[in-house]
Symmetry: C3
Subunit: 450 residues, 3 copies
């Protein structure tokens, strides 16, 4: 792991140096601890309570989309509220208790209150024979069902029953809730950051993503420098939430120059960046290059259609350039979707390193711009505009002067400052500075594409 | 060589396992033996007799195209019939005799019946000084001429003459003959297999191709599974026959998704696949990958404009994606176009291996298809269509479920199941099965391009 | 260095063998010696005197473009004429004297005639502390100023003054002068060779380019074989001259199939070819391949927007495929833009090798042509046109016959003889010969693009 004191922040001018990161590590983990006990699902009070807590950190706009709304191929589901759930013996001893860990109830379970024999209960029990101490995380969103999740050990010691089984839950018309933070830049083009908020007491998946996204929003909102590209951070239920957002924001598709889903970013593994399907978003370029520059251990993967909400953002219709940042990829650690994914499974230092890397990539992305040369016939006369040394013959190829020539020579409306940086070796900030001077001189004009 | 018992047929579901291949080896060679003595040329009775024999194996449609027909830049030539040809001494001893080997007469020779001195005969003799025991194969299709081919040894012992020289041949208005077998698939798109039938007593060039093509036709016609793509097998005279076929079938060009010329596929050398000029036909993809999968020794070559009828199919006008499968490439073995290319030069085992590889490639090609996603905005809700597990959270990425996601995610109307297979690593049969389910659910639609 | 006697000229049929190159080496250096003392600038008598000398070698057309003409973003500057310039002590001893070396006056200096103290003179002195024996080359074209260049040693020994300082120069309305030689080929498509003529007593930069371009013009003009592509050689002042030429010749842009800026080609370093920005001109292909074929040591570089007039030719508007040939690249040798770049710094042998390589590339470029097949449906019947051997079956793949097939097979209007050469391995001259025969037979037609 990159240790915080060694972080090279010298090139991060917007927000990378705005806070002491050691403190941030503690704060990131503290936010996870605060959110951990809440029983979240794709809809309902758990999501709202979570967004309310985040609103104390960042000015979130909360959206409520009514149950039954048609969102592409889907329909916004009912709200689920679970007040209590348990399996008791007939003496009233709670054998499995939702209040101990909300994973014990299968997500979106229908209500039940009855007495059952062991063999009647059995089809509704979920455990992990290979991981006998862990409680699995299970849901049944799109088929009416109920169930309890418990460790294999618990299951083996339940006894023969009969049991009193109660789930005090309701499914009611309400809404799907999500939160959104827009930090406006100079252009309407934007970077989309998304993180899912529908999982209950699972720390890495995805309190880690929620806390990093929240603190990224704080850093950006606190920055005194106006961004070039807007940054939009959305806190949404997985799948149906992402599809809801996509269905309601079709007018934004063309503005999105890059994006990132943040999920499972607090465990001890190295960072894993999964490229967008298109693979050509600004984050596809800048996150890998920033991880390399900062010497942060990481792995790159091509897009595949299994994973988090990049599945939705990258689907063929919207086809947005949104990748996914994880540490150990989902499903590749044994604690995944079990009670083993708890607060000890993540650390503030790892969350903080993720935050730093994402902030650096978002910042670097601000400099990825594309221009068109307005005076393309030969070189324009820079001298009379005060942009070129008056006395010629000197062999000193100053970076600032070279940056002017490179920007003029390659600004064809398609080649970005990132491409020119890669070809010329000149720092992107110098190329952007040159572009600003050339724009002032009306020799370059920015184009919409990044 | 791949020994037949080790052949992995497990993935070949259409016809790869429909027959015992050991028997086929014998049958393939037997067919060559039956065809060997016939005096074939680009037109005439030898071709008809050959096609008649093939018709006892497969339901060939015979086409006759009248002499004089304009076929692009060419004209269908006259029929050539040669009943006898010899050089005798004046005692009536046959020194060179067409009845011993039909190679002895230069193909398409004009008739002659006269007495000649040695020096008058000399310009009409063809032999190979560097291969003194072999009779060369020579033709003069497009310039009226006559000649005899003989071994250098024979030539040296001919004596001074005078000789009686007779060629009992005729050139008459008739037709060019070719055979065609169409095994219809579910679509009108098709795979074109072509093999030339104009060579006289040469075993590898091209009784080998004829016998493999015939037995491929039998396998396909016998298959109880309906093909996806139609397969058309044409038995044609080289060059002028291929051009005739092209001129008469312009409406088929757009349907041809891949193809293969079979020539010289019975010698002891490893297989050589020469790509089509375009290089993007289904056979261009599947033949190399099937040879690798089956661990059959082979070489790949880029297209060049010298060779067999792929020259015609790949010419700039039709520009069909038709490659060529050989063993030792033409001209690269000393027996090429000589009497050394006889029945001992080829083996049933080599013919059988070729057949197996071609059948595998044709079969695999059936699975190379392209679809377009009809519900491309986010993932469609698979659960309510019974295509997705009802209970979520489980980490089991079943192949069938993954195949659904990959097909949905990449079916943009241009990316084929072969491409998705290469990218995902999922078996192409599973991807096609997923495509079938998604088509039934009206989530995918097949597009014409493979 | 390639020694002249070893030069393989066997494939150079136009002009490579037309002269003894040893003599040329002496002549090339002699021309540099003749031009060395002249005080050239971007305008004025030095340029005219230089072009007049060149006119004794080649039939140059001289162009005069009036001061004040608008040329894209620039304006043609006034003529500068400098008759004398010196710094004297008050006893009339010349301490710094323009007549000794015209580098001593800053190019384009305004007139002055006054007496100055040392501290008043100091801001107008230019020397090189790190190269104390060399006089730097400085100009001030676009800001009115005056100055003297001298060695650091001279500067240190100047004394305290006062000094008499005189520059007898004038800036007057006149014209910008450039020379042009067009050797007409069979087509209006052309190769553009450019060399700058604005530098005063600097041998490598750019008397070397001027002398090589002049002798290239002689070779081409003397050739008895008519060129396929025209060759245009322009002798122009750097930057403003190139921009002037571009502004006046917009109708030629589409005709230019390749080009080359010749600069700094006489020093002892290996040749350096800097590709055009597009990288797809004929010279981009043929100069590297000819340097390799001739086994001449060289380096290839991608385009960058700093250098010589390729900056103007490759600017986004004209976007011409014009590269740059140098030996040691500008700025990478310590003598660059100093009095160290004198006649001893270059050699006739190096100039001659450059000439030979450029001539070879220009000649090879004549063979880079593109055709379209007029009979693309199958192979045309070559036999009845006398283009194919009458007797078939022979395995002899003659180059001339193969060249016919390759040209027919790949002439799609986009693939050049150079591409076909690269793919087939056949010599380009044989491919062109085949193309000529096929054009005569109305089977191929040349297209405009090279």
């Amino acid at each position: 792991m990159m240790t915080t004191p060694d972080v090279d922040t010298s090139e991060n001018v917007l927000f990378g140096r705005s806070r002491k990161l050691d403190d941030t590590a503690d704060e990131l983990h503290a936010l996870c601890r605060q959110l951990y006990p809440i029983c979240r699902s794709i809809t309902g009070p758990g999501v709202r309570e979570t967004l309310e807590i985040l609103s104390s950190h960042i000015p979130l706009e909360i959206h409520e989309v009514p149950t039954g709304s048609q969102i592409f191929d889907w329909t916004v589901p009912e709200e689920w509220c679970c007040k209590d759930a348990f399996i008791e013996d007939l003496d009233g001893n709670r054998l499995v208790d939702f209040n101990v860990n909300c994973l014990h109830v299968m997500g979106y379970s229908t209500a039940i209150d009855t007495q059952l024999e062991r063999d009647q209960l059995e089809p509704h029990l979920h455990s992990l024979p290979d991981q006998p101490e862990l409680v699995p995380y299970r849901t049944s969103y799109y088929e009416k069902n109920w169930g309890f999740c418990l460790s294999e050990q618990q299951r083996n010691s339940l006894g023969e029953g009969p049991f009193r089984v109660k789930i005090d839950s309701s499914h009611t018309a309400g809404s799907l809730t999500y939160g959104e933070l827009l930090i406006e830049g100079k252009t309407k083009q934007e970077i989309l950051i998304s993180t899912h908020i529908c999982h209950p007491s699972l720390a890495n998946d995805n309190l880690s993503g929620i806390s990093v996204a929240t603190y990224l929003g704080r850093l950006l909102a606190d920055s005194r420098t106006k961004l070039h590209y807007s940054v939009r951070i959305v806190f949404i239920p997985a799948t149906v939430g992402a599809i809801t957002w996509l269905a309601r924001n079709r007018d934004l598709y063309d503005n999105i120059v890059g994006g990132l889903v943040l999920s499972g970013v607090g465990d001890s593994g190295p960072l894993t960046y999964k490229r967008s399907r298109r693979g050509d978003g600004v984050i596809d370029h800048t996150l890998p290059s920033e991880m390399s520059r900062l010497d942060v251990e990481h792995e790159l993967r091509d897009y595949s259609p299994y994973g988090y909400d990049e599945r939705q953002f990258c689907s063929l219709g919207p086809n947005l350039p949104v990748g996914c940042l994880m540490r150990t990829p989902f499903g590749e650690y044994p604690e995944y979707h079990t009670s083993g994914d708890n607060l000890d499974f993540i650390s503030g230092e790892q969350l903080c390193e993720t935050l730093f890397v994402v902030a650096a990539a978002v910042e670097y992305s601000q400099y990825v711009r594309t221009y068109i040369n307005l005076e393309p016939n030969g070189e324009p006369q820079l001298g009379r505009r005060g942009l070129y040394a008056a006395i010629g013959g000197d062999n000193d190829q100053k970076t600032s002067q070279m940056a002017l020539l490179w920007m003029l020579s390659f600004s064809d409306g398609k080649t970005s400052t990132h491409d020119i940086h890669a070809r010329s070796g000149l720092p992107i900030v110098d190329l952007c500075a040159a572009a600003d001077r050339l724009e002032d001189a009306e020799l370059l004009s920015a184009v919409a594409a990044p």
